[in-house]
């Protein structure tokens, strides 16, 4: 694909001009942040303090455990549901509910789930209906010591993500053609669909899942906001321990936090490599996959895919409805199933001070628009062979724990006087948004059929005309989907927002996390809904306006 912009000497100048914004606004801040984070790793006394921390090893164990369990369970669930629904009547309609679930910020789901499962929550109230409890039971649900409720929240959130990845792999034309052929062969040889999945499809799909699985693992093992809301407390996960240290008043503890963040990063890398190596060994010995009849248990597992998927959606719906009721519940004593007094006071409080809502909204719109422009400018002016560098950096931005990246970013921005500034906060949000949008867009954008452009040139259409009239409309669905993801990613940022804002700005995740440790549940619920609804609306708009091609995504 040789575009007119890339011809001649002026083309070169243009190329530099359009390729550089992503370098200045994304690559440079990312690299500088990583370097500053690395700089924090070389403090010997901090490491000594870290080794002496009584909670270090149990906290690290909890982080790895919650990370591994989350990725294992969500991957199994995603594969089982996708396999069970593959090419079924539900298949073309899956992207909408999955996208809607993806749009819910992580921390909002954690808050909603904790309202559901806490000892005074809706679940216990439902049981109380039969058991006659008048006081909340001694349930060990949210903040349980093994991180099980944190794992549950992560699985609920990551299963749709992995399903979305799986579906986009399966819907690729080449994969679809291949799999159709393999299915025909398999069925002719008397294999069941379960057996075909197990022997043919999965061995081809799983290698493509390695990076998404790693991102899920790294995210789950290092998440701060969700762990604060629903995770274990004594000992906490290492990420929350590190987070407390980073924000501590003692300078020694700040350094210990930085060392802890790196220990967590290294531990994650080692565990991930170990699991990957183990998986390689297992999958290289294919015999157990290809010999003998399909185990019966698997058939049953696949059979309930619709039920499993419906249950997943139901949890999201129940949580949303519960949050709506809670936001109006001025008084809701245990064990009542319905509030005693309803009031709009929480919402009027939100209306009186909507600054956090506006800050989050302005940040999400501006970062999404900017990232969109950066990514398109890059794709239109840079040769495809350079994509791998930006892809690698984007993947690094998503794979490195947010606490490490944010720590480096905080230190760098502090030196540059950017903490507490609008621009600093904007840059901090732009980083993950650009990374996600680049990774999501690079495939669809680069596989755009260049013959369209040849035809347009033949019809003497100028490049801008071709770009606006042909290319953008044809790429509408993936562009809108990527924008919806960018918006949701910006909306859900907690760690960088908290560090870079220096208290000058408050965003919705910051408000919501703060409120969860307070006494005002209606207000917490109201803020959680505020955090949920805009990404959902943006997603629905993207789904609606990108409809013509959406179903094929």
């Amino acid at each position: 694909m040789v575009g007119p912009l890339r011809q001649g000497v002026t083309g070169k100048v243009w190329r530099r001009a359009f390729g550089s914004p992503i370098i200045i606004l994304f690559v440079l801040p990312l690299v500088v942040s990583l370097l500053f984070a690395l700089g924090a790793a070389f403090d010997l006394s901090a490491w000594q303090l870290l080794w002496a921390h009584p909670q270090l090893w149990p906290a690290l164990g909890l982080s790895i455990f919650t990370g591994l369990m989350s990725v294992l369970l969500s991957a199994s669930l995603a594969i089982i549901i996708v396999a069970g629904l593959y090419l079924s009547g539900w298949w073309p309609r899956l992207s909408f509910p999955i996208g809607a679930m993806l749009a819910m910020p992580h921390v909002a789901l954690a808050i909603g789930l904790s309202f559901l499962i806490m000892p005074s929550g809706f679940l216990a109230r439902s049981v109380a209906l039969f058991s006659g409890w008048t006081t909340p039971p001694n349930w060990i649900t949210n903040h349980d010591p093994y991180g099980l409720s944190l794992i549950a929240a992560l699985v609920l959130k990551e299963t749709p993500f992995l399903m979305w990845i799986l579906i986009s792999i399966l819907n690729r034309q080449d994969v679809r053609d291949n799999f159709n052929g393999q299915r025909a062969v398999g069925l002719s040889l008397g294999h069941t669909m379960t057996s075909i999945w197990q022997r043919l499809y999965l061995p081809q799909i799983v290698p493509k899942l390695v990076w998404p699985l790693f991102v899920v693992f790294a995210y789950a093992a290092t998440v701060v906001d969700m762990a604060l809301v629903i995770g274990p407390t004594q000992p906490p996960t290492l990420a929350t321990l590190v987070w407390a240290d980073i924000n501590d008043s003692q300078v020694l503890n700040n350094a210990r936090g930085a060392a802890g963040a790196w220990l967590l990063t290294v531990a994650i890398a080692i565990v991930a490599l170990g699991v990957w190596g183990l998986a390689n060994v297992i999958f290289s010995r294919r015999e157990w996959l290809t010999v003998g009849p399909a185990p019966r248990a698997l058939i049953k597992v696949f059979f309930f895919a619709r039920l499993k998927f419906s249950s997943l959606i139901s949890v999201y719906l129940i949580i949303t409805v519960l949050l709506v009721i809670l936001s109006f519940a001025a008084l809701w004593p245990f064990p009542n199933l319905w509030p005693e007094i309803l009031s709009i006071s929480a919402w009027s409080r939100v209306g009186l001070d909507p600054s956090a809502f506006f800050t989050s909204g302005v940040l999400a719109v501006s970062t999404t628009v900017t990232a969109f422009a950066l990514v398109i400018a890059w794709m239109e002016t840079q040769p495809q062979m350079r994509d791998k560098y930006v892809t690698l950096l984007s993947a690094t931005a998503l794979g490195v724990p947010a606490i490490v990246l944010a720590l480096g970013q905080y230190r760098a921005f502090l030196q540059l006087g950017l903490t507490g500034s609008t621009f600093g906060l904007f840059l901090a949000h732009l980083l993950p948004v650009t990374a996600y949008m680049f990774i999501v867009l690079v495939g669809p954008y680069r596989s755009f059929d260049s013959r369209w452009q040849a035809s347009a040139s033949g019809l003497l259409a100028s490049f801008p005309r071709f770009f606006w009239a042909i290319k953008l409309p044809l790429l509408k669905a993936p562009l809108l989907a990527a924008s919806a993801i960018g918006f949701a990613v910006s909306f859900g940022q907690y760690v960088p927002a908290q560090l870079i804002s220096a208290g000058r700005y408050s965003t919705l995740p910051m408000e919501a996390v703060t409120l969860t440790s307070g006494t005002n549940r209606p207000l917490t619920a109201a803020f959680t809904l505020l955090l949920m609804v805009p990404p959902l609306l943006v997603f629905m708009a993207a789904a609606h306006f990108g409809k013509s091609r959406w179903s094929k995504l």
């Binding site: 909340p136 274990p232 008043s249 903490t419 307070g518 006494t519």
Partner: protein, 395 residues
Amino acid sequence: MINRRSLLSFAAVSLLPNMAFAADWSAVEAEAKGQEVYFNAWAGADNINAYIAWAGEQVKARFGVTLNHIKITDTAEVVKRVRDEVKAGKADGSVDLVWINGENFRVMKTEKLLFGPFAAALPNFAFVDTVGKPTTLQDFTETVDGLESPWGMAQFTFFGDGAKISSPPKSMIELAAFAKANPGRVTYPAPPDFHGTTFLKQALVEATSDRSIFAKPIDKEAFAAAAKPWLAFLDELRPSLWREGKQYPKSQAEITQMVADGELLIGLTFNPNEPANLVAAGTLPKTTIAWQHAAGTIGNSHFVAIPTNAKAKAGAQVVANFLLSAEAQARKNDLKIWGDPTVLDVTKLSGDDAKQFANLPAPGSVIFPAPAMLEPHGSFVPLIEAIWLDHYGKG
């Protein structure tokens, strides 16, 4: 001994700067006009946030100062941020005024992160009850030296539903017995939450016979001996705590919510009037009772301070001075608004001003106030927290 003459000369000396400052004060007010003050204050309670919003309206209308409440969960964050900014050479810091006391104050004072002395120069400081409320000058036994301005008084207080608690435990020993009789229904926030740390300090002080060690910076050997009965008590208490003492709530507010739900029986607070305020707000039932341990509970003052790199130092002083005014203190003292006890000596005020401070006993008020005990020196805090973490932080 202090004789009359030295007393007089002391008075003269202490009056002189006040007169000089009186002229300066109008200059401060003039400079403050149009400034934006970023007030970093713990925002875990709605009523407090609403009070700060009210104070913001007032200083805007009267002095042209814009007050921005920066809502924080832990003042430690602010200490860290100011230090980082000062280190990075940032002169126009992000914090103009911070709600602070105790350990955080000690750290900021020691590391010279505070502006001042400024407190004594505030015109309304003259009405502070520095004699009857010595903690306005000694913050966790660290001398204040005018580096922070007193804002309110606090005393450790417990509360619960009187319909469920017939005789409230009036000591730590009784509390342990109560917890044993009601397993899983009592707890305290995990330190370093300051209510959690205060609970541990209260237990430490009650378990120690020679309390003189707490008046000085920590002597680790003396403390090692004092810590034994304290740890024995905590060990005994632990199995009957909520979730068998293996997990702890994060904050006092979380405990309050669990008391309101009935999941816990006893809550704790630093504001003796908070339970009454929560009854008035409808969060707690009208049968709520509040009490303090008979032999006394830890009391202290809380303050506002100005970081050394604050941008709006004049505006911050104007706000600090307004917060000390009879009007602002009376409103803060009102059970229905906040209920935070005043730092002023009400007898120094004019009759009309003084009248505003009368709080009638309301449901949830402390009926039998106990004496306030001094906080252990701030240097005890890191060790108390470290020992607790070592013993109870591993699940």
